[in-house]
Point group: C2
Chain length 132, copies 2
């Protein structure tokens, strides 16, 4: 018996996602909003708000768990910028049992394979899916 | 000398925030969207998507750090539901130095003082603000 696989999830980060997140967060930093401004920074192009890449993690974990996401711990390490137009893909390692919880590591990469985010996810045993 | 205080941040979670997050994430679960459906669940009312409460953490940490948010680690534990209309307030403890990093714990509470989220934030020393 083994745990069901975590899904692979890819989001393409377009202008619409960045605009929606700006409205949600109130963060209209020109680095995210203004291509001309962003071109002069060390990033060279518009970058997404940091939490946007996290959506892939939330989506993957949410679909793995169904409606039982309460009590989940997610530990995030931002590793590199997500640029406008990037495709961010969530890739998870197999869950392991640890101290009564399910634990897995995951990473988000862009279309060039560059790591943009690492995540450690801890799921209380009683809300985990059943083994196959 | 001491570290500048982390700001206290309060967000009121309205229908607009939930609709924006649904559009961003593609998560239109009726628990978030449909008051009649949500009334029949154990929550009794529409609840926000889990990551919405996290905005207070991102806003507080982002404003404390300015534009240097790369390399920050945020460890999140969801503790309870955020209901439509709730006011979510981010409250941080004082940063401590640990193994060359700055570390602080924080929690988000609703207007009744119920904890909805805990966060552990680790900030590499070289991107931290200066001590006063």
């Amino acid at each position: 018996m083994s745990w069901p696989e975590l899904p692979e999830v890819t989001h393409i980060i377009g202008r619409e996602e960045i605009d929606l997140y700006a409205e949600l967060s109130g963060d209209y930093n020109p680095l995210h909003m203004d291509a001309e401004f962003a071109a002069k920074t060390r990033f060279g192009t518009v970058i997404a708000h940091g939490p946007i890449g996290l959506q892939t993690v939330f989506e993957a974990v949410g679909s793995w768990l169904g409606d039982e996401a309460g009590g989940v711990r997610i530990d995030v390490l931002y590793r590199g910028p997500v640029r406008l137009g990037d495709a961010v893909t969530f890739l998870a390692d197999s869950p392991q049992e640890h101290a009564g919880d399910l634990v897995f590591t995951a990473r988000c990469v862009n279309q060039n394979g560059d790591e943009v985010l690492q995540a450690l996810v801890v799921i209380p045993r009683h809300i985990a899916p059943r083994k196959d």
